[in-house]
Symmetry: C2
Subunit: 379 residues, 2 copies
């Protein structure tokens, strides 16, 4: 305790000794250096060291340099637990994911998480992963992580209307941002892709190609954005005087398998369909897979389109016409806004990022129209 003297003339040797014992890394894991050690070596109080660490302007240039030198020499690193305990900020964010079987192996969530992690890291935050398992919800784990001070805020991915527990965040007591979805009801913060606009672009394009009998492979109508797409599909068809039949809607469950099965249903129940609009790329992949092996030629006989523009979309055969979602950017922005909330932002967060159509090879003019055009061209 009193092993370090405080007289000015003895400072240097003492420093050297401490520094050496550190750099040599003596086998005994000689308990790590603390603020107290640094304070002693620098002949200042621990308060001063703390202030240097948080570069508080109250510290004079001279003192700040003296302390910094000691910090560098000793390789002192403040204990984050102690810092968080006393400062009330953990510098950690949670990413809440739906509890899918092998949930992370998913391009959609992966892209969002990439954006989040990149930005969080840049702003000095760590990110913890949390899966919304039933038990987690039942035991209010989502509140626990705040109350037990694991995190300062949370980003909620893959949420849907049945997640009533999100209502508990409406008072903004616990900073939370809904990522790529939105709720009209609870006044929650959100960052979302403009699904409606994307769907409009896609429908306009398909209609322009002459398609009228368009099947829809959708999923999860409890997700607001998914409903947006479905609604646009319906409105646009009605806009050209077509009332989509019940059988044109098929649930693809957001998976490749589901997409394949839905395509099969569609073909069986409505053989005269000329295009299939899948509300995500995974289902489109499944549908294409099914059609290919049924010998249906894409896009000559049937056009197939997706939604998301995941990496794989470009590497199917034929490559997929789809709507590009700026998921990475959504992640980045959500992360940024969440941190602002943690730091006291009070204005509501609500942003809608633009989406755009990506035309590749899975779409073509409707076959009949194609023939007509060729006739007109005099062939």
């Amino acid at each position: 305790m009193a092993q370090f003297t405080k007289t000015e003339d003895e400072l240097t040797p003492v420093v050297r000794e401490r520094a050496r014992s550190i750099s040599l890394g003596d086998e005994k894991p000689s308990k790590p250096i603390s603020v107290r050690d640094v304070a002693k070596l620098a002949n200042v109080s621990v308060a001063t060291v703390s202030m240097v660490l948080n570069d508080n302007p109250r510290i004079s240039r001279a003192t700040q340099m003296r302390v910094q030198r000691i910090i560098d020499q000793t390789g002192y690193r403040p204990n984050r637990l102690a810092q968080s305990l006393s400062s009330r900020y953990t510098q950690v964010l949670a990413v809440l994911l739906p509890a899918l079987r092998h949930g992370f192996a998913d391009a959609y969530f992966g892209e969002l998480i990439s954006g989040i992690c990149d930005r969080a890291g840049k702003l000095g935050y760590k990110v913890i992963l949390e899966q919304a398992k039933p038990e987690f919800i039942r035991s209010k784990g989502y509140i626990d992580i705040y109350e037990r001070r694991y995190v300062d805020g949370m980003l909620c991915l893959g949420s849907n209307d049945r997640h009533h527990y999100l209502a508990e965040f409406s008072d903004h007591r616990y900073p939370m941002v809904v990522v790529d979805n939105y709720f009209s009801q609870w006044g929650l913060d959100f960052i979302v892709c403009d699904y409606a606009s994307g769907a409009q672009q896609m429908m306009n394009y398909l209609l322009q190609l002459g398609h009228r009998k368009i099947g829809l492979i959708h999923a999860a109508q409890e997700i607001r954005t998914a409903r947006d797409v479905t609604e646009v599909y319906q409105q646009k068809l009605q806009g050209v005087g077509v009332e989509p039949l019940k059988s044109w809607y098929q649930d693809g469950k957001f998976t490749e398998e589901g997409g394949a099965a839905a395509a099969a249903q569609l073909l069986e129940q409505e053989p005269r369909i000329t295009a299939i609009f899948c509300t995500n790329d995974k289902m489109a992949l499944g549908a294409i897979h099914y059609l290919n092996r049924q010998g249906v030629r894409i896009p000559q006989q049937i056009s197939v389109v997706g939604f998301d523009d995941t990496r794989h979309a470009a590497f199917v055969n034929p490559s997929l016409t789809t709507v590009h979602l700026p998921l990475y950017e959504v992640g980045v922005l959500a992360c940024e806004r969440l941190i602002e909330r943690v730091h006291g932002r009070t204005e509501k967060v609500a942003e809608r990022l633009a989406t755009h159509l990506v035309v590749r090879e899975s779409t073509a003019m409707v076959p009949a129209l194609q023939n007509e055009m060729e006739l007109l061209a005099g062939r």
Copy 2:
């Protein structure tokens, strides 16, 4: 401070009052309940409460129930920062990922992470994500997370031989497990898939189908497991008297684009090739994509195989023959062993999980042999 009396008869009313003020959730965020509050209400010392929390056997059934009742009534949740600070265990693990552009949107890493998170959650651990950016390495961020007490241990994914900093973990001072790779040099803990065995099964299968001119689309020879596969490929060919030419090896950079480009090179430089062995599924997808649009029929003209068995492998056209890697299980096991290390395990961790061949539709007998067989069959 002395607002709570300790006489037995006054306990009940006091409890009720505290409990009500909590359940009503008064608007003022009346500072959260602490051990001290609980102790006072239960008429025991804070030490006792702490022991109940960590179910220390020294506490009698009666006391433990009395305290537990108060805990339940007040909804008290221990502050994890304080717990970690004084217990020296954070109950947090780090997952270190290579800094790929959009790294998480990858089926390979996703599968590993799924396994890790599932098991970590089950064992009461949280998982933080860390990207191995150059700056992170240069500043020894990987040591920082231990010293600053962010985590108890680390799982290292996507490592390779150029990651010399891993040598710093050879003394096992900081618990770390290499996931799905291994190093002969530094005595690090690891859990890995049996790549060599998988490659052998695949090569045996291809050779059995009569293939001799087999191209290899590989990548990242600085990864030990990747080299294992390449070596098996070479040995097996030599085993049947074939010396693979330099031009049979093509670098596919582990991506779809790379796979497509490599396939193009291969076809140009060695048109008589009858099979292509890709060392991961992504490159196989790229190769198939390229071959398809060149009009090459798979598997009639050329067989293509992959490695990994990611979800997409089953949904390409034709579906991909590949080697299944138990990545989820590797994640689970790595997580488990790491936690054992944290709790003092001293035996080295080194396990190799079995892999197996998955035959789908992208492979067939070598064309010439096929004809011969048909002739023999008298057709």
